[in-house]
């Protein structure tokens, strides 16, 4: 083979191998920065985590210590995930209401386990560790709602409301300025309302347009009228009575699937109260 032709063949083959790899470089880097993937790794590392949902004998019990020992890797993986800026759970909205959201169940377990760990560290005088675990836990809870529907957001709110009352205990026990700053920063990162309620409502109600819900034409028309009001209720609860009236008069097929706005608004307000209390304490 003449040398020019040989070089040309080598260049072509090199291009075939290197090209796709180079093209994948960007998305792969982005994929590695997705906190949700770290969280899934943490879920896989969890052991006997269901124990946190049962009545435990006491924080000094050897079984509790053993539980934390077994789950140290899972907790550390979760902490590393909270350092990443983005969290995309990859919910397959093309499946409509049948989209799996098993991650929420796992997240509740891991979040509760971490909350128990914060208490354990705090009662054992490890304030530094307790603050670190709590800061990560708050961020993790916030990420649970990321890109999800109302259910994921309410689960995240539940986790946050379990952890925010721990701040007074830690602060009263005495925190360094650096620890106080870390807690303040963690609360600031949650945003004013703690979670993106409007986005969650939009994603939730958008699902109902799907064919799997098989809403009647009247149901779809009512949904189009209700959606902006429901989204608005997340920033202005005074529209709640009007919204409830519209839902009560909506066709039955829509009424049957519509989440109770009263419950959603109450959860949102409760979370805001918890946040305000914690922020006030840290100022």
């Amino acid at each position: 083979m003449n040398p020019v032709r040989s070089i040309a063949v080598i260049v072509v083959f090199a291009g075939l191998f290197v090209g796709p790899a180079a093209a994948q470089g960007g998305p792969r880097e982005q994929l590695g920065e997705n906190a949700a993937l770290r969280y899934w790794s943490a879920f896989a590392e969890m052991q006997d985590s269901a124990m946190v949902m049962h009545r435990i004998p006491g924080l000094d019990d050897p079984s509790v210590k053993e539980l934390f020992k077994k789950n140290q890797a899972a907790l550390n993986t979760m902490y590393r995930g909270t350092m990443l800026p983005d969290c995309d759970w990859g919910i397959d909205y093309q499946l409509g209401a049948e989209a799996p959201v098993e991650y929420v169940r796992k997240a509740l377990l891991l979040g509760n386990l971490n909350a128990l760990y914060v208490m354990y560290l705090e009662t054992h005088g490890d304030t530094e560790g307790a603050v670190r675990a709590l800061v990560a836990g708050l961020r993790f809870s916030h990420d649970v709602a990321s890109g999800g529907t109302l259910f994921a957001t309410e689960a995240a709110a539940s986790l946050l409301m379990d952890q925010l009352p721990m701040i007074p205990n830690i602060v009263h026990a005495g925190v360094s300025p650096a620890q106080r700053l870390a807690l303040q920063k963690a609360l600031a990162q949650l945003g004013p309302a703690g979670l993106d309620w409007q986005g969650a409502v939009k994603r939730e109600l958008e699902l109902y347009r799907g064919t799997d819900h098989a809403l009647s034409a009247k149901g779809l028309t009512a949904l189009a009228q209700i959606t902006p009001l429901y989204v608005g209720a997340m920033s202005d609860p005074s529209v709640l009575p009007r919204l409830q009236g519209m839902i009560a008069n909506a066709p039955l097929d829509l009424r049957n699937i519509m989440p109770n706005p009263q419950r959603v608004v109450e959860t949102k307000q409760s979370l805001e109260n918890h946040l305000a209390e914690a922020r006030g304490l840290l100022q």
Binding site: A99, K106, R263
Partner: protein, 125 residues
């Protein structure tokens, strides 16, 4: 042998052909009786089934101490089943607890695993 044949012939000759009976005709009355009997059986079967079903439900509710929520398993957890859970639970906290308690794995002893079972089997000829 010959005497036997004669005796057998005499024996056969004593038979006389009979006039055939009329074919049985299914009358309306008989139809009605058969339908009535079938109906009675159907009613009896239905009653028995109803009694059994009632007793079964009573037994289940007698022994079940959990709430209606606890009898449901939210597997797989989808947006639909999650919303159903939220709609039925008395509070958000109750829904979340129910969800997490429902996650407890039904652990299978190692001795019952497919791998363990296969390794116990003598697969060599």
């Amino acid at each position: 042998m010959h005497a036997d044949d004669e005796r057998f012939e005499v024996y056969l000759k004593q038979f006389r052909p009979r006039a055939p009976k009329a074919l049985p005709v299914v009358t309306r009355g008989r139809h009605a009786r058969r339908a009535l009997a079938l109906g009675a059986w159907a009613v009896a079967v239905a009653l028995t089934a109803a009694v059994l079903a009632t007793n079964w439900n009573a037994k289940v509710s007698h022994f079940s101490t959990g709430t209606a929520l606890q009898t449901k398993a939210f597997h797989p957890l989808t947006i639909r089943t999650a919303n159903q859970l939220l709609g039925e639970a008395p509070s958000l906290k109750a829904a979340m607890n129910e969800l997490v308690l429902d996650s407890e794995e039904k652990t299978v002893p190692k001795s019952q695993s497919a791998f363990a079972a296969l390794t116990k089997e003598n697969i060599n000829p």
